[in-house]
């Protein structure tokens, strides 16, 4: 190849590259670290789709600080090692000043040392392990409730549910064990006794042994913490065993629509602590925003059942953008500082951060609303308690 031809080839490429760099300088990048493949793929994809709705809405109104926002979406493959690698790539490669992630507690916990290393803030949209905000990481801004907040919100509902003694069946990880500890404490404080605490492996499909033991106990209520697939199996197997206790699930990852579809009659009369009410927009803190979000979700042809996950992506991005706006510049340190002062009308109440964890290096936690919904005859209802 002659030099002449080489130059002819390279010049337009170089020019194009220049254009690309210029274009990206006019956007503000936000890193999104979610599981798009692997066991949590469905949930992670919902969160990303919710985030895209927020980004499009913000960009349609002119963006932030005069620039459009650009979501840099990376797949952490439902794997903690990948989640940490993805965070590193977003920070050092894409130079994002702020991130949202990483769905599961174990994924988020794996990312956290990277935040310390590079001093970049992350809005945590889904994870609920208590450890995330108590381990002294000042770059964590969590909008999802940890089980302690969920358990506190559950406290006033206890007398009306008539619970005297409760058994637990929880997934064997930080989330499940944390939930049984936090809810157990709240129950005991309210004079409710705690019976069995049964554990199920994350990948287990057959819980009849645990449920048979629970069936034989004298408790009136069973509190279950796990993700929707395993919960479907728990409900079906409990139904087949003729378990007569009232079943209440925690963790806000239960997806009642999917339960109704897949567990059928076995889902009836089960109750679920959730953090969003897409079925009853009027009962949410910001009905107009909820209606807008749901109509946009439907317009894009997504499955309605996904809204209980995707609203977190929507709220997360809007929280981040409010932080960028308050900071006045898209730099990690300024955004970290500004996020402490944002007040965002989220789909699930106002996002406003309070300090938790060891003094001097507190993490941020907002207090979202928690609702108890009940499945009655294949429909989601919101009993007034």
């Amino acid at each position: 190849m002659s030099i002449d031809r080489t130059i002819k080839l390279i010049l337009p490429l170089a020019f194009a590259a220049g254009l690309v760099t210029q274009a990206s300088a006019q956007t503000i990048k936000i890193g999104v670290n979610q599981p798009l493949t692997g066991p949590f793929a469905a949930s992670g994809t919902y969160v990303v789709n919710g985030a895209k709705i927020a980004a499009d809405e913000i960009n349609a109104k002119g963006g932030v600080l005069g620039k459009k926002i650009e979501l840099v979406i990376e797949d952490n493959k439902s794997n903690p090692t990948e989640a940490a690698a993805v965070a590193e790539k977003l920070i050092t490669g894409d130079k994002v000043p702020v991130m949202m992630g990483a769905w599961g507690s174990s994924l988020t916990l794996a990312v956290m040392p990277k935040l310390m290393e590079y001093k970049v803030p992350m809005v945590v949209e889904t994870s609920s392990s208590g450890k995330i905000t108590t381990s002294g990481n000042p770059y964590i801004f969590r909008i999802s409730p940890p089980s302690a907040i969920e358990a506190e919100a559950f406290k006033p509902m206890l007398p009306k549910l008539g619970i005297k003694k409760a058994d637990f069946l929880v997934i064997n990880n930080d989330w499940g064990r944390g939930a049984s500890a936090d809810f157990g404490k709240v129950l005991k404080d309210s004079g409710v006794s705690v019976g069995l605490v049964e554990i199920m492996d994350q990948s287990a499909q057959d819980m009849t042994a645990q449920l048979s033991k629970i069936k034989a106990s004298d408790a009136d209520t069973l509190i279950v913490t796990t993700a929707v697939e395993q919960l479907t199996l728990v409900l079906k197997q409990a139904h087949a065993l003729g378990l007569k206790k009232q079943i209440i699930t925690t963790g806000a990852s239960q997806n009642p629509d999917q339960l109704i579809e897949q567990a059928g009659v076995a889902a009836n009369n089960s109750m679920h602590l959730t953090t969003f009410l897409p079925w009853l927009p009027e009962d949410t803190p910001n009905p107009d925003a909820t209606k807008y979000f749901i109509s946009e979700w439907k317009k894009r042809g997504f499955n309605f059942a996904g809204t209980t996950e995707s609203f977190r992506g929507y709220d997360g991005i809007r929280t981040i953008v409010a932080g960028i706006e308050k900071a006045g510049k898209a730099e990690p340190a300024a955004i970290t500082e500004a996020l402490w002062h944002v007040e965002v009308k989220g789909l699930n109440g106002t996002v406003k951060f309070a300090k938790v964890g060891p003094a001097g290096k507190e993490s941020a936690q907002s207090t979202p609303n928690v609702y108890l919904v009940k499945i009655v005859d294949g429909k989601v209802t919101h009993p007034k308690l």
Binding site: P39, A42, N172, Q205, A209, V228, L233, A240, A266, N303
Partner: protein, 290 residues
């Protein structure tokens, strides 16, 4: 006592399930000496096929089961023909790597085609259960138990009482001699792998509706199947059946009376104990050494 009876019933139902998982693998792993890492994916394939036929195409549930088994058999034959036949004389490590590759490709294809959201299949049994005093068990699981026993008995008769079974056993005992006696070796290899695969697909087709169907469902099935086969002894259908029931017993009683946190550990503890005293498994066939 009521709780104990329920645990015993659960154990039989779960044991039938485990035995079904084990027999398909014991044929391929035990007789052909192919470490079939794709076993769990053939199981998943069967489950998705039932979902496709009954939930999406609206076919009768029982017809869907048969179709899933037939297609599982065809997929097994195809895997043997395309992947295993060219490397028949290769050592066990090579076939193991090929099967790991097949597993990864199949699992990712399932993820790509069906997405990550778990699917469920409605059956004519619904969610109704048979209640006998303090014991309750769903009709679907009773059906699965009976079907599993029928498949196990059928496989046993096929291997031990038919001419094809005799040819299979002869081939894997001594390939050259069998060939000299007029056994069509190529056909026997394909038939054995296809039979093992169709049993895996049958297990998936029967258990998919009991649980939920997801691309990852094969991982746990594979793990349990290997445990059962090693416990029962390679290549023994009776051993895999009894191995399945022993594993179910350990898990059920372990979770019910010791600690549910260690439910899976109980099963593997028993396997370690068995292997310490009987390294070839409980019911291993006598092997010719050298």
């Amino acid at each position: 006592m009521d709780q104990f009876l329920q645990h015993i019933v659960n154990m039989f139902i779960l044991g039938g399930t485990y035995a079904l998982l084990g027999i398909g693998l014991t044929l391929i792993f035990g007789i052909m000496r192919v470490v079939n890492f794709a076993h769990g994916e053939l199981y998943t394939f069967g489950a998705y096929f039932v979902y496709l036929a009954s939930a999406l195409l609206g076919m009768n549930f029982f017809v869907s089961l048969v179709i899933a088994i037939v297609f599982g058999c065809a997929l097994g034959a195809a895997i043997e023909f395309i992947l295993l036949r060219p490397i028949r004389s290769a050592d066990i490590d090579t076939t193991m790597l090929v099967m790991i590759g097949a597993m990864i490709v199949m699992q990712n294809t399932e993820q790509y085609v069906w997405g990550g959201v778990a699917k469920s299949v409605n059956t004519p049994f619904g969610e109704s259960a048979l209640v006998l005093g303090p014991i309750s068990v769903s009709w679907l699981r009773i059906f699965v138990f009976v079907a599993a026993l029928a498949l196990i008995a059928g496989s046993y008769l096929l291997i031990n009482r038919t001419k094809l079974g005799k040819a299979m056993r002869a081939t894997f005992q001594d390939r050259d001699t069998a060939s000299l006696m007029g056994v069509n070796i190529q056909f026997i290899y394909m038939a054995t792998f296809a039979l093992g695969s169709s049993l895996a697909a049958a297990a998936g087709a029967l258990l998919g509706p009991v649980y939920v169907i997801s691309p990852q469902m094969g991982n746990l099935a594979s793990l349990k199947a290997f445990a059962i086969v090693i416990l029962g002894g390679l290549g023994s259908i009776g051993g895999a059946t009894i191995g399945g029931f022993i594993l179910a017993f350990a898990e059920e009683i372990g979770a019910g009376y010791i600690s549910s946190g260690y439910r899976d550990a109980m099963g593997f503890l028993i396997i370690i104990l068995v292997l310490m005293f009987k390294p070839t498994g409980l019911f291993a066939r006598a092997e010719r050494i050298g």
